[in-house]
Symmetry: D3
Subunit: 334 residues, 6 copies
C-alpha cells in the first residue's frame, strides 16, 4: 500500500488532512490543566512534523514506545513559530501493508539530473588517466547504483536515500567555483571532490529497515573502504601512473582533515587540503539547513544538532539566489 | 637610497648578480672539510633566498646576529631542489642610506585593481543600508588607506603590506563563487567577507620597523576592535536597522569560528558560518602557498609552518587556471 | 493571588502545612511494595523542597509533565538527611490566579542595603574619571533598575532576581579585602569587580516567564555586551582618558579568564587578572553553597551540579563568621 | 669572600659601579656595525640586571657557556625601558672565594616577622586539636627550619630561599581577609592555607648548588609528601579526631584543584575549595609580579613566563596600598 | 530465604523455569500492535538476563521503578542473538525474606584457590623484606578478609564480590608471564601487581546494599588509601629499607599511569611502568569480556560500556586455551 | 675502510683508546676557568658516548656543525655517573673512506635466531589460511629481506637496522605468554602481533644516509601501507575466508589504539585490543630502556625522551631474569 497524498513537506498552517506517516518519539504528557495528551513526530520520505493528540483512547494511554506506521486525521496550525498538527484520530497500521520507501527519508532532487551533472564533469577531465578511471567506475552498474542511492551519513547530514549523490555533486560544484581562484590541479580536485566519501556505500546499509552501519563499516570505516574501492578500479588500468595513484589515495585518506576524525594522515597536498575543506563546508552548511528546516524567521533551533549550538534564522533575509539550496523546497522555506 | 635591480622573486639558477638585501638568520658553520662559512637569508619586499659564503673576512667570522642591510655579489644555483646563492662579497650598509620599504614584505598585486574590485562589489550591494555603510567606510580616507596597506597578520598568512586587502578581496571572490550554491543573504555575506578582519588595522602596526602588535591589539584583539570600527560607522547612519546591525556584529564577532580562537560566540547564522569558513579556507590555502613557495616539484617543506606539518608539492601538476593564485608569480612557480 | 505563608526557606522537620508552590520535576514511581506514588519538587521564590504523595487520584496517575502551580497539604520530615514533605492533597491552580513573582527564585537579601553599599564604594573612588563614570551609570534610572534586578546567570550560580547585584557586591567585598595585600590600582579593581558582569542585563531576560537568553545575548554574549554598555557611558564623558578606557575595556573583555570561556583575550594586567580570579572565586563558592543548600552534615550532594562532582558537608563545622554567607539563612543552615 | 656592595635591587640608571655577580645567559653577538660584544645577565640574591660589553679580550670572545662568578666594572643606563649595564671590565672569579648564598635568590622580607605572624595565627586557632597540631609542628626545630627556608617552587613562583614561608603567610592573609565573607570553618581554612604546600620541603632541595627536585620529590610529589608530613605529626596526638584528620588530609591532597595538576581528588569541601583558590590566587599574582619586575610603565613583558602570555604594566597606576606587595621593593617599583 | 535453583549463568534457550531474581531496569512499553508489555532485567549473583512480560495485571501497569526482588515463571528463547525470557508470572517478594548475597554479583571462581595462588607467590619472593611484608599483610585477618571479598570497582570492571582478588591474581599471572621478557626486578613487579589496587578495600563498601563509595574513598581515593595501607604495614618492620619503601610507594601511587586518572605522579621506574600497563591490560580485557558476555558470534554490543565503543564478537573463533578466561563459564560462552 | 676495534658498547671507565666514530652534536664551550673546549657525541652502530676535548687546534675552534666521521685518541672515565671520554686528538675523515654501515645504529641481536623464532611460530599456526598466508609472506624474498632489516621507527623506539624484526619477535613472545590467560583466538593474535607494524618497511627508508620517511610513508602512513601489504598477499590466496580477511585487516588498521594516533578505527575485537596493548607495552618498555641505557643506578635520565618525563634507575635492582632484555648487553648494563 502506497502512502496517500499530503506529504510532510507540503504541510502549512490551516490545513485539515487525513494521511499516513511513521510515528516516532511518542510520549504521553499532561497539559497545564492536568489533561493527558499524546506528543509525537510524524515522518515520511519528504520530511516530518510535530503533532499532539488529546482525548486518548485506552490503547494510546501508554504511548507508542517504538516507531509505528499510523493513519491520522487532524488540523495544522502554527505554534510558537513551529508548524504543528492537532490530531483527532490515530490508527496503528500493519507493517505488512506499508511501502516502506514512502517513509524512509529520501532526496527530493532529480537523481537523473544529478548523475548527468557528474557524467559531464567526468567527461571533461583533462587528465586521461583520471578520465578513464572515472568512466570505468561509472560503467560498473552495481557500484554506480549504490553510489547514486546511498545516504551520505546515518544522521549527521544528507542522511537520506540519494544523499551521497547530492553531497558529491554539491562538492563538485563548490570545487568548480573555487578552482580558478587557487593554483590547484583541476582534475585531481574534481575527482577528489566527487569521490572522497565513496566508502559510505560499504560503511552504511540502507533499505526497508532504515540506515545502519555494516560490520565492515564499523571495523574498517568509510575512509579506508573508499580508498580500497578506488584502488580496485585503478588496478584494472595497467597504465595508471603510480604517482597519480599515490596522490589520489592521499586525497581520499586525508579528507577527514585531522587524525582524530579518522583520517590516518592530515592533508599534505594543496588538492587534499582543498577537498577536505570543501567536504567540511558542504557538510556544515547542510547541518545548518537541516537543523533549521522548521524554524521560522527570528526563531532559534534546539541545541541538540550536529553543530552543537542553537542556530538562528534572521527575521529578514534579503536576496537569496534562486538556484541556491540543497533542493527546491529548502530554498523556498527561507 | 633605493634598492637596485635583482629582486628576490626574479632570481633563478645560473645568475651572476650584485644587489642589496636585508640579511637575516645568519650563522657561521663549518663545512664537511672543517672550513667555516656564513649561512644567511637574503630578503627584500618581493621574497627571500638562502645564501652561503666561504672565505670569510675577519669582521664576518662572528656572523651578523641582528638583521642587517647588506650589499652582496655572487651566483645562484639549485641545491637539493632549493634555489641558493653563493656569495663572493658581503658589505654591511648604513641604515640611514636605506629605503626601508624596499625590504619590508609587500604584496606584488595591483592595489588599485584590488580596490576597484571592492568598490564595484560595494556598489552592487542590494541592501541600501549595507551599501550606504560601505560607501561611508570607503570614503573615510584615513580608514581606507589603513585598510588598503595593512598586513593581514604578523606572520601566519598574508603577512605583507597590502595583505589585508589581498585577503579581503580573495574572500569576496570566494563568497561570490559560493553564493549561488547555498541559500544565504548575498549582501550580508559579501559585507562580512570583505570586512571580517578589519580590526587588524588597529591590532597591528606596520612601517619601517616591520610588523608588530599594538598595545590596543594585545589588550582587545582584532575581533572586538573590528566590531567597534564598523559600529562607529553605523552610528553615523541613523536609519540603519537594529536587527541588521546585530547580525553584522555577530558575523564580525564570530568569524574566528570557535571561542578558543578568540571569538566570544560561535557562528549561529548561515551567513556567519559561511564567512568563518571562507576566512579559514583562504587563510589555510595561503599558508600552504607561502610555505611551499620555494619547494620544487616532488619536494617537501619543513615542519615549522602555520599548518604544523610537512607539505608536499607533487611531481606533476596538471592544468592550473591561469588566473589562479595569490599573485602572478606564485602561480607561475607551480 | 499572592502566595500564602509557609515559604520554602522556613520549612523544617515536623511541620503540618497548607501552602502553594510551583511543582516541578514530577514523576510517578512505585515504592518497594509496588505501590505507586508521586515524586515532585516544590519551588517558591525562597527555595525548594522535595515531596512525595501516595494514594494518587486518577488525574495524578500520569504525573505533571510540565511545571504547574499547585496548592498542597501535608507534613514535613527528615528523610536520609534531607528535608522532605509527604502530601495528603495536591490541587493544580489556574495560571491566571498566580502572582508569578512569588515563585520566581529571588534574592532574600536587602536590595536597598546592597545598593547603598555600592554607592558608597562609588563615592569613595579616588580616580575622578571612574567616580564620574560610576555616578553617571548609577543615575541612569533604567540601567540601574535592570542592574539591580537581573539574575547573574540562568542556572549556574546566583540564578535569581537580584542575583547580579548580590554577586557584584560580594565581588566588591572580596576586592576590598584583597586590595591591601597586592600592589594593584584600587579604583580600577573596584570598578571592574562591580561591573564585570554588567552585560548580563542584556544577555538575559527575566520576569514572569522565568530566566532566558535574549537573541542579542546569544549572538553577542555578555562579555561584549557589557563592554559596550560601559563604552556608551564613557562616550558621554568627553574628558575620560583614552588609556583608562582601554584598560577598563580590557578588564571587562578578559574577565572570563580564558578564550575558551568566551573572553576574546586573556587577562594581561594585574587588575584584569585579579578581577577574573575574584569573579571565579565568588562564582565557585556560590555553586558550592547552592548545591549543598539541602545537604545535612556528613552528607553528600548529587553529582549533577555546575562543579560536576559530589560535594561533602562535614559532620562538624566549627566557628563560622556570623556575617558570612550569601544570605542569613544559608549561614544558619551550616 | 662575601659579595661587596651594589646589590642588583639597588641599581638605577646613571650609576658607575664595581661589584660581583653570578653571570648567566652569556652570548657573543655582533652589533649593527658588525662589532662583536658580550651579552649577559648579572644575578645576585636580590635580583638581576642585563649587561653588555664591547672591546672583548681574547678569553671572552667565546663567551661564558656556563654560569660564572664575576667581578665587573661599568655604568648603568635605561635602554628601551629596561635597566641595562655597560661593562668596561669583567673578571672570572674562583668558586672557592665565593659565598654562594650571596648569589642564590632569597626573599628580602623579614623572616622573623613572617614567622611571628604565623605563630600568632596558630595561637589563635579555636579548635584545640588543630592548635595542638600547629604547636607540635612549630616546635619541631628541624621541620620548622626547613619550612622557613625552603623555596615555594623551582622556578614557577616564589622560587627563592624563604619563598615557601612568604607564600604560606600571604595565603594566610588572604584567608583571613576572606573568612568573614563566606560560611567556612575558620580553623580548617587557616591551617590549610598555611600548610597546603608543606610537602615542598621534601620535594625540593636548596643550598649552594641552587634549587633542584629530590628523588623522593620526583617519585612521590609534594602533594602526597605534604599529606604524609602532617599525618606523621597527627600520629603523635592520640586524641586527634578521625573526621578532622580526614578533612585536613583532603584539603592537602586536593589543593592543586584538578587531577591533571597532581591532586588525586578534586576539592569536595568548602574549605578545600577555598584553600585551592587561595593558593592559585597568590601563585598567579606572584607570577605576574615576578615577570614584570623589570618592566617599565606602558611596557610589555616577554611571552616566556609561567602565565604564558605577554603582560602589560599600565602607563599610569593610581593609589596602591602602601602595605601591598610581596616585599617592599616590589611595591616601590610600581 | 535462599535463592532457589536456576541461576542466571545456567540459562540457555528452550528452558521452562520458575525462580527468584532481583528485577532492575523495568519499563512498560507497547509492542508493534500497540499492546503494552513489561521489559526488565533479571539479576542474581551469577549474572543477568533480559525478560519481557505481556498481559500485565493492574499492579504492574506502572512498572517497578526501583529494583525489587521477584519470583518469576516463564520460558527462555533466543531473540536476535541474545538470550531472553518471556514471563507468565511475576510476584514482588518482601525484602525481609531475601538472602541478599544471592543477588549481589559475585565471582564464580574458587576463592580458596585464588588465595593459595597468592600465598605461593608471596612465599617465593626473593627479597626478604618484601616477603616479610607480604606475610605480615596476609596474616592480618581483618585486612586479608577485606582484600579477598572486595570488588575491584563499582561498575567499571570486576564489579563483584571477590573481584579485587580475581583482578590481583590475574595481574600477578600476567606479571609472571612477562617477567622473563624484560629486565625488571621480579619481586617489586610481583608485589606491585598484587597490591596496586589494595586501596579499594577502603574506597568502596560492599554488602547487602550493593557497592558504593565511602566518604573516605571520595575524599582521598584508592590510590592514596592503598599507599597508606602498605605504609602502615611497613612501619611495623623496622628494618625495611627506605629506598625500597620509596620505590614500592611510587609503584602504588603511579599505577593509574597519568595524573588525569588520579595518580599524583606518572610511572618513572621500569617496575612502576609495567605494573601500570598490566593493570590497564587486565582491566580493559575484563571490560571487553563483561560487555560481550551475552553477545552471540557475529554480533555487536551496545555503545554504552566502559570502553565507549560497540564491540564485535567474531563469527568464528579458533583455538582458545582451555585455561583462559576470567572464569570457566566466560570462556565456554565464547 | 671498516671501523677498527673499540665499539661504543664495549667502552668502560679507565680505557686508553684510538678508534673511529661518527661525531655529532658538537659545540665549543668555555670551562669554568674560561678555557674553550669541544663537546661532542661519538656514535657507532653499537651505541654512543659523550666526549670532551681541550687544547683545540685552529680548525676545531668553530666546532663541527654537521656530523663528521672522525678518528680520535683519548681516555675514558666516569663523570657524575655517566661514562665520558677525554680526547687528545681528533681528525676528520673523508666520507669516501668510510663503511657507513659501521656507524648506522643496528641491532646487536642474532638476526638468524630471530627469524627462526618467527618461522617456528608461523609453522605452528593452527588456522590453515593464516599459516598459508604466513608462508607466502616469508617466501617472498624481497619482502622478507626488507622486513628483517627495517627499523621499527625513525627515533621513537627500536630505531635501528633490524629493529622491526626485534620488535615483532618480542611482541610475539608477549602474545605467546598471555594467550593462555585470556579467551582470545591464538592464531589471529600471533599473526597480528608479528605483522601489525609491517607497513614500516614502506613508510621508512634506511641505508647509508640514515633513517628517513618516504614520500609514500608521509602521504599514507604505515597503518594503511601495512594493511595493503597483507591484503596483496591475501589476494594470491583465492580460498582465504572473507571474514578472516576483514578481521585481520581490522587488527592491522586499529593497532595504534586511538584515532588521534593514526588508526582510522579503535580496536573492536578482543584480538585487536590485545595486539594494540602488546604493541604499546613493548614500545614503552623499549623507550624506557633506550632512554636509561647510559644512566647509572640511583640516577635520572633527561626529560627529553619519547615518554616525556625524567626516568629513574633504582639504586638496587634484585633478581632480573637472565634471558630478559632487548639484547644481551642491555640486560648486562642493568
Amino acid at each position: 500500500m502506497h502512502k496517500e497524498k499530503f506529504w510532510a513537506r507540503d504541510l502549512k498552517p490551516g490545513l485539515s488532512l487525513r494521511s499516513t506517516f511513521l510515528a516516532t518519539d511518542t510520549a504521553v504528557r499532561n497539559d497545564s490543566r492536568g489533561v493527558p495528551y499524546l506528543s509525537l513526530k510524524l515522518v515520511d520520505r519528504t520530511g516530518s512534523v510535530d503533532a499532539r493528540m488529546w482525548g486518548l483512547p485506552d490503547n494510546l494511554r501508554g504511548g507508542l514506545p517504538e516507531p509505528e506506521y499510523v493513519r491520522v486525521e487532524g488540523n495544522t496550525h502554527d505554534y510558537r513559530g513551529t508548524l504543528q498538527m492537532k490530531l483527532n484520530k490515530l490508527q496503528v497500521l500493519d507493517r505488512e501493508d506499508i511501502s516502506e520507501e514512502d517513509y524512509l527519508p529520501a532526496t527530493d532532487q532529480d537523481l537523473d539530473a544529478l548523475q548527468a551533472e557528474l557524467w559531464m564533469a567526468g567527461d571533461e577531465l583533462g587528465n586521461e588517466h583520471l578520465r578513464e578511471l572515472f568512466m570505468l567506475m561509472v560503467s560498473d552498474a552495481e557500484f554506480w547504483e549504490a553510489f547514486c542511492s546511498a545516504p551520505a551519513a546515518k544522521s549527521m547530514h544528507h542522511g537520506r536515500v540519494g544523499g551521497l549523490l547530492e553531497h558529491s555533486v554539491q562538492c563538485l560544484r563548490v570545487a568548480r567555483s573555487l578552482v580558478d581562484l587557487y593554483p590547484v590541479d583541476r582534475d585531481k580536485l574534481f575527482f577528489g571532490s566527487i569521490f572522497h566519501d565513496v566508502g559510505k556505500i560499504e560503511e552504511l546499509s540502507w533499505g526497508g529497515g532504515g540506515f545502519a552501519y555494516t560490520t565492515e563499516g564499523r571495523l574498517q570505516g568509510h575512509v579506508v573502504l573508499g580508498d580500497r574501492i578506488v584502488a580496485s578500479f585503478i588496478k584494472q588500468l595497467p597504465d595508471f601512473p603510480k604517482d597519480l595513484e599515490m596522490e589520489i589515495s592521499h586525497i581520499l585518506l586525508s579528507h577527514q582533515g585531522e587524525m582524530e576524525y579518522g583520517s590516518p594522515q592530515q592533508p599534505k597536498t594543496m588538492e587534499a587540503l582543498l577537498v577536505h575543506i570543501i567536504d567540511n563546508l558542504d557538510a556544515r552548511l547542510a547541518m545548518f539547513q537541516e537543523t533549521t528546516a522548521n524554524v521560522r524567521p527570528d526563531g532559534w533551533s534546539h541545541h541538540e544538532n550536529p553543530l552543537r549550538r542553537a542556530l538562528y534564522v534572521p527575521a529578514v533575509t534579503g536576496a537569496v539566489s534562486e538556484e541556491a539550496g540543497f533542493g527546491g523546497h529548502d530554498a523556498e522555506e527561507q
